[in-house]
């Protein structure tokens, strides 16, 4: 209330100067777009040529689940330390390791005929499901002067799974894997009213078995497919594709998905 009265008083003075009061709009805070029915699309760029030459340096990009969590009941100390909110990243490459399914053929005892069936195998126990998510410890309430919200303190997201074999044929359905995603302390979400939390940049240390590679991460939201080579705007990340029309986005031929054309913020020149 005192704030309002103070404003009122300030303005009664200002109102007498009728023309040209430039009043700035307040910030909407660090906004991160997330929803269950639309995911983020990341493009991974090996940091060095040496990384690009490695077996684990062949990732082109993938879909990410990116979520912001905030605690409206956080203490003032937590708010001051940017600990009232956190960023969670769940990469497809990890989540897809948690479960697999395969088809097999079996003779139906009732009819004596061979029928095709499918079986789903959980490769990790339920208590490990959350290990596929990288969760930060900080996320600021307000973007910096450039419009970025930096998340830090990501715990590594890691899963180790055994080989899954077809119980009928014995063929390997999914090989054993041990994968770790370590997002570094440079993960930033661009948050502005014109693009509310829909571009992300940062870097990632990716480990598969004994191989470790460093990647640049460029991501945008929402993940939309595209047709490489098409000039139709809706099929080539332009107007009608579902992306923010201000985005400078291109169709990645490997991913067949729209990705930032340059390191975020990737916007068209105005």
């Amino acid at each position: 209330m005192t704030k309002r009265i103070a404003t009122t008083v300030a303005v009664l003075g200002a109102a007498s100067i009728i023309s040209g009061c430039a009043i700035e709009q307040p910030s909407a805070g660090c906004f991160v777009q997330d929803s269950s029915f639309a995911l983020w699309q990341a493009k991974y760029i090996p940091k060095t040529e040496a990384d690009a030459a490695k077996a684990c340096g062949q990732l082109k990009g993938e879909e990410l689940g990116v979520w912001k969590y905030s605690n409206p009941e956080a203490s003032a100390a937590d708010v001051a330390a940017n600990r009232a909110a956190r960023l969670a990243i769940r990469p497809r490459g990890l989540a897809s390791l948690t479960r697999t399914s395969y088809k097999y053929k079996e003779v139906d005892p009732a009819t004596g005929k061979e029928v095709e069936k499918s079986r789903t195998v959980d490769r990790v126990t339920q208590d490990k499901w959350d290990d596929a998510t990288a969760l930060s410890t900080t996320l600021p309430p307000e973007p910096d002067s450039e419009g970025y919200c930096k998340a830090t303190g990501f715990a590594p997201a890691a899963l180790t799974v055994e080989t899954v074999t077809n119980h009928v044929t014995g063929a390997t359905v999914a090989p054993a894997a041990s994968v770790t995603y370590q997002f570094n302390d440079d993960v930033e979400v661009f948050s502005a009213p014109s693009a509310p939390g829909t571009q992300l940049r940062g870097s990632l240390t990716y480990t598969s078995g004994a191989c470790t590679a460093e990647y640049e991460v460029w991501a945008l939201w929402p993940s939309v497919g595209c047709v490489p080579g098409s000039t139709e705007p809706a099929e080539s990340c332009g107007v009608g594709s579902g992306l923010n029309p201000d985005f400078d986005a291109v169709c990645d031929a490997d991913l067949e998905a729209c990705v930032p054309a340059k390191r975020p913020g990737s916007f068209k020149a105005q």
């Binding site: 009728i18 969590y69 959350d130 969760l135 009213p193």
Partner: protein
Amino acid sequence: MQVRRMLRATGVVVVAGLSYGTAAYADSVIVGQVVSAENKKPVADVVVTATSPNLQGEQVVVTDAQGQYRIPQLPPGMYTLRFDKESFKPFSRPEIQLRLDRTIRVNVEMLPEAFQTTIDVVARPPTIDVGSTSTGVNVDQDFIKRIAVNRPGGKGGAARSFDSLAELAPGAQNDAYGVSINGTTSPENGYVVDGLSTNDPAFGINASPLSVEFVQDVNIITGGYMPEYGRSTGGVLNAVTKSGSNEFHGTVFGNITPGGVFEGRRAQVLNESSVVGGLNSLTALGDFGATLGGPILKDKLWFFAGVAPSFSRYNHQRSISRILIQRDANGAPMLNEDGEPTVLRDAATGQAQTELIPGSQRDYLAEARSLQYMGKLTYLINQDHNVSVSVTGTPSVSGGNGALSIDPQTGGVPLRLVGDPNSFGITQELAGTTAVGLKYAGAFNEKKLLVDANVGWFHQTASTLPDDGTRPGDATGLAGLSLVQFRAPRSIAYFENYANINELCDDGVGGTVSCSAINYFRGGPGFINDGLLDRMQANAKGTYLLDLFGSHVLKTGVDVELLSYYQKKAFSGGVTHRETLSGAAWQDFRRYGFLRGPDDAEPLLFQEARSTSTTVGGFLQDSWTIASRFTVNAGVRYDTQWLYGGDQSLAFVLSNQISPRVGLIVDPMANGRMKVYANFARYYEQVPLNLLDRAFPGERRFQANRASGVGRCDPATMHTREGQDQCETDATLVASAPTSLNPSRLYTGGKSEKEPVDPNIQPQSSDEYLLGAEYELLANVRLGGNYVRRNMGSVIEDMSRDDGNTYFLGNPGQGFAKEFPRPTRNYDAVVLFLNRTFSDGWLAQANYTWSRLFGNYPGLFRPENAQLDPNILSDFDLVSLLKNREGLLPYDRTHAIKLFGAKEFAFSKDLTASIGLSYRGNSGTPISYIGAHPLYGPSEAFIIQRGSGGRTPWVNNIDSNVGVNYRVGKSNVVSLTVDVFNIFNFQGVTAVDQNYTFASVLPVEGGVKAGDLTPGMIDKIDDDTGEVAGKLSEADLNPNFKKPTQYQAPRQIRLGLRYTF
């Protein structure tokens, strides 16, 4: 004035002059020039004295060197002017009727004492306001008493609310929340009572349905108004309450509109989509009360007080009908090769045939009660200074204890009760206002400097509460019982038991065709809330009169409003459960709460927030009259509105609202009997606070899925406390697959962020161009016409640049929403009118309006589905739905005719009667072809150009008023009135179903005409994937399309009895 003339003619003391008090709100002006009858030269230093029963004491001014005089700050009423000067014969002009907010010119020729020639001095007072370009009508008690106004039913109908009078003005028509003026929507109007706003701070509609019994005069300004009126992009309804006078006067009154056999037969709306039917009929509504006004100290201190309880009672008859299917000779259902029964259809209408299930009828009472009151003290400090203090209240309560609620925002009675018969009538709607106002008016420097100041507090309650006394956030009673929505295919026999219902509903498919009950509700009340709204207002206005190349009336003012909207809201039981369409699971569909981290959910039983706004503004205007012939009105208004969200931090600012207003009036004969005028005005909106409550910050909600079945969420017990306790455990939660990329597997949602705002957001505005002329043909008869054009400037709306994924608030077509179409709402109208104010025992008004309303922006609510969310409607949300949206808007009516006439008769010295007749005729409204959207549901996609599907038929309405007045004492009169609304019980169609299909579709491109449209031209969308999935088929069409959904209100008779002393 007219009343006194009547007295002379008949000797009867007529009620009208006595029954109402007088107004202390003084904003009307008499101006004029005094010349000598001998040589037509101006006469200076004439003492001009104005007296009126409505005026405390008298007002005295002196003419200047040009013979000009001006008497400002007069309350509306009947005046007598006296002109005195030595060497001239004193001259008195009685019976000058002065209306609220008006400036009238009374020029006078005085006879020198020595002058012998007989000069015919015309003593006819003019009624044209020569100082103003504003359009509209002024409704006073002369009119209200003789014409059937304030139709029963509808918003504020029982209380006879002042704002319903606005429909009398040319260019005005009723809309869902009040009266639409010049193509705008009712929440855009400014509602002003005694200088203070009564707009609902959250939604903009009129929150105070103050009875006309408390109102002296209502000025309905439809356009062309000066900068002193702001914060409205519609019209302004300016009401002044009654005040006391030097004599004690009062009334005791009662009005009742009986239902039943007194009501005309209502045409029945047929709808085949539901087996639950509803039929509403009026039981009775009415109001009664008393007012008293008089002096506490003569010529010093007056009082006025009144009380007016009112009530509305309807009967809602709920019934269940089964849909008839083909049966064999034994009555067994005949199924086709797909195993489906075949529905029997009416050959003429194509609608399914139905039959009432015996014993299923149940009557509900729908009722509302209100107790209005007002009190006012007026104190005259001296001739130049007065103060008044007033209190008004309009508390109301509706529903509960088995009775249904009547919506206080619309006056609507529920149409159909699709759910457990015992789950209705369990909440109460509380809606009320309390207004306290203090007003000061003073004159300084020989009435050359005038000061008016108002301070007021407008307090409002708006709550929907369980009738067992529990409150939002309580875990017990009705507030603790969740609402449950059943959606899997079931027979209504699953829920309700009537004799033989299982046999009657047997259709071979479990009753899901014959007695289908989808979207059936059971359990608790669902959404409940407790709202408190406040509007603190202070404004001051200074008027300075200056003579410099003509006469100037300079006005300047400041105006501060602090708005506050507190709401505590809850879903009863903390959650609303919704079954999935397959019946496999139940969703925690509506639940307040947040997620601290993945699957770390914190449910909240309620949410509460206080959103506020501060508006500061001021204006400067000059009305410059040259040679009594030309008047230039020029001015500017400035406003800035700061809006603060529920977290008390600034959400956004709407600054630099600079509204220029320029007008020119020519009085060609300089005698106040004719004017030609033109005006330009820009109007700005004051944004209602609902938007802050909804989106700054957004509501914290999360969802979850739970397993259905015995021992879990069991449909058989879900509506009970025990069933809900059994359902709402962690054990029933259904996790999504671990391969999902949502870090939370049990919950979705839980965010709580503000909606982003375009940093360059512009305030919402509208421009108006006005051209008109008015001529006083005969005494009290004015003929006039005008042309008005209104269009939109910037519009504030929420939008999504990625088709419903993210939203932001901005101006469509501007800033970074440049790829959105610019909102348009172009209103063009030509109005012709002929008005005769009440005198010599009769009055007549006639007006005709031709208009066209075209665009893609309807206003602050969506007429298609009555969504009242000012500035965050769904209209501009989705890029995929923007096609075909520009067209004739729902309130486009090409022709509107309004005729009113009344005549009084005297049978004897003590007995008079009056008859009033009115006719209102409107051409129909445009029809659109509308489909659904996967996210937004029905009524969102314009399949072909909006409004291009033909029109509803012309609607005619004839009302009458008959009144008999009998004098029983010197000044005591008994009056009996009978108002008959819709005498001939016309049952014209006022709305039709515009849903071409309930399937989700894409708009058709290429300008297809309604006659050429076939279902095969329309792309259908899969609701789950959002992708195009083939074409629409005949089976997808709504069988009720273009069928009537609403008819005219039937004939209703209101009886009124009044004793006036």
